[in-house]
């Protein structure tokens, strides 16, 4: 029951590591796919901008590996966005594991850009395993300027100007736009739901 944290860069992924440590969940940092051979699930953390992050995933072989991956995957923040088809942040194609495009968030009167702070989760899809024990209106912590508009793979929403995909899922592939590792008890619950779900 080991989780691989996909290490996309030299940047700090300490918050995800500490969150797993708080849950007593064993993990490895995997810069390349062969370093995750023993793991039964994968976390793609939210580090970097879309362009450089995709370039690193291509370079390390992770992009190709993730496209044929059969283990459960959880993308976090930018990592969630990378699961989609395309992002206007970099104008480049992404992993394409979940259909849809990442657009620039235009909050209007909702507040400043980017979206930074605690916000509520709503419109849960019944049976979503990540939301087990989580209630509508529970709050989680967001930091993002781009977003996935609500679509067929949205299983929880928030609102900041437009409705924003807070959690997306297609099969084994799921992503949180918010930072569960920085979202206190609710975030810990979501992470442990991911860790405990049947692989």
């Amino acid at each position: 029951m080991t989780t691989a944290i996909i290490d996309t860069s030299t940047a700090n992924i300490a918050s995800v590591r500490y969150a797993l440590e708080r849950l007593n969940a064993p993990y490895v940092l995997a810069r390349a796919p062969d370093e995750a051979g023993m793991c039964d699930r994968l976390i793609l953390p939210g580090v970097g901008a879309a362009g450089p992050a995709m370039a690193r995933l291509e370079m390390t072989g992770w992009a190709e590996a993730l496209r044929s991956e059969t283990r459960p995957i959880l993308g976090v923040c930018l990592g969630m966005q990378l699961l989609f088809d395309h992002s206007v942040e970099s104008g480049r194609d992404l992993l394409g594991l979940i259909p849809g495009r990442i657009e620039k968030l235009e909050p209007g009167d909702a507040g400043p850009w980017p979206h930074m702070g605690w916000n509520t989760l709503t419109d849960f899809t019944d049976g979503e395993v990540l939301l087990h024990g989580v209630s509508e209106r529970d709050r989680v912590y967001f930091v993002h300027g781009f977003y996935a508009p609500v679509g067929p793979h949205t299983v929880a929403r928030t609102r900041y100007g437009p409705a924003v995909t807070a959690i997306a899922r297609k099969g084994r592939v799921a992503g949180c736009q918010f930072h569960p590792e920085r979202s206190s008890d609710i975030g810990a619950r979501i992470l442990s739901n991911f860790l405990e779900a049947a692989a």
Binding site: T10, A11, N12, A49, E89, P112, W113, P114, M116, G145
Partner: protein, 240 residues
């Protein structure tokens, strides 16, 4: 809006580093004090002096230079590798009006908060070299190699009680590249923290950039390369 002509000084010479790289030095030559006097004579009130020697090696900090520039009547805002309270004190004692704190403002906010308490918020400016990721500005350290886990706005919340009021912000992907300042970044920061005095650092390449920064509500603009290379006329910038 204040205009801060920027003079980067390495071993007594006026230079520019391309994207912060000590291996990509452009030597503008000459004596920094003469450069300072030239800006003063054109109406500058402030000089932004970057002590690159001090940044590389604290023992080689150019205190005499700060003193000489302060004696020209210019207010001096200066930094480069400020690491200790003694550094801050020595720079202020040399006649600087404001000390710019770089990496430590990101890696050791509690230390810098102590300096703000001891020396006063007017005497300290925090400089943030930020990288934009998914729209959020993340401070970087160690020559832009490492990135803070927290965004600039989150970090600045730590400084709220201490009263930090001067922040220099550089979008490192624009610095020295003559692509214009990142106006949307500054506008967003002003919107989120209108209580701060925001100083734009890096990227100013035309008078239109200066006008746009002023219109956005910036407290100051630090201009280096564009002044040295004549793309921006200081008198016009001060008048706009």
């Amino acid at each position: 809006m204040n205009i801060y002509p920027a003079v980067d000084v390495l071993d007594g010479r006026v230079v520019r580093l391309e994207k912060g790289d000590f291996d990509a030095v452009t030597d503008y030559g000459g004596d920094p004090v003469s450069a300072a006097k030239a800006w003063r004579d054109k109406g500058a009130e402030w000089l932004h002096l970057v002590d690159l020697s001090g940044a590389r090696d604290g023992a080689r900090r150019q205190h005499d230079l700060v003193e000489a520039v302060a004696k020209t009547g210019l207010k001096v805002q200066t930094g480069g590798g400020v690491r200790t309270a003694e550094d801050v004190r020595a720079i202020l004692d040399a006649g600087a009006s404001r000390v710019v704190v770089g990496s430590l403002a990101v890696t050791a906010p509690q230390t810098v908060i102590g300096w703000i308490t001891d020396f006063g918020a007017a005497s300290i400016a925090a400089a943030f070299d930020v990288r934009l990721e998914n729209g959020a500005a993340y401070p970087t350290t160690r020559g832009w190699v490492e990135r803070s886990d927290r965004t600039l706005v989150e970090l600045l919340a730590d400084y709220r009680l201490a009263g930090l009021c001067h922040a220099l912000v550089t979008d490192i992907d624009r610095d020295g590249m003559m692509e214009g300042p990142n106006l949307t970044l500054y506008a967003d920061l002003i919107k989120i923290r209108p209580d701060m005095n925001w100083l734009a650092s890096g990227g100013v390449s035309s008078l239109d950039d200066v006008k746009a920064l002023k219109k956005a509500g910036m407290s100051g603009a630090i201009i280096g390369k564009a002044l040295f290379e004549g793309r921006v006329d200081l008198e016009e910038a001060l008048a706009c």
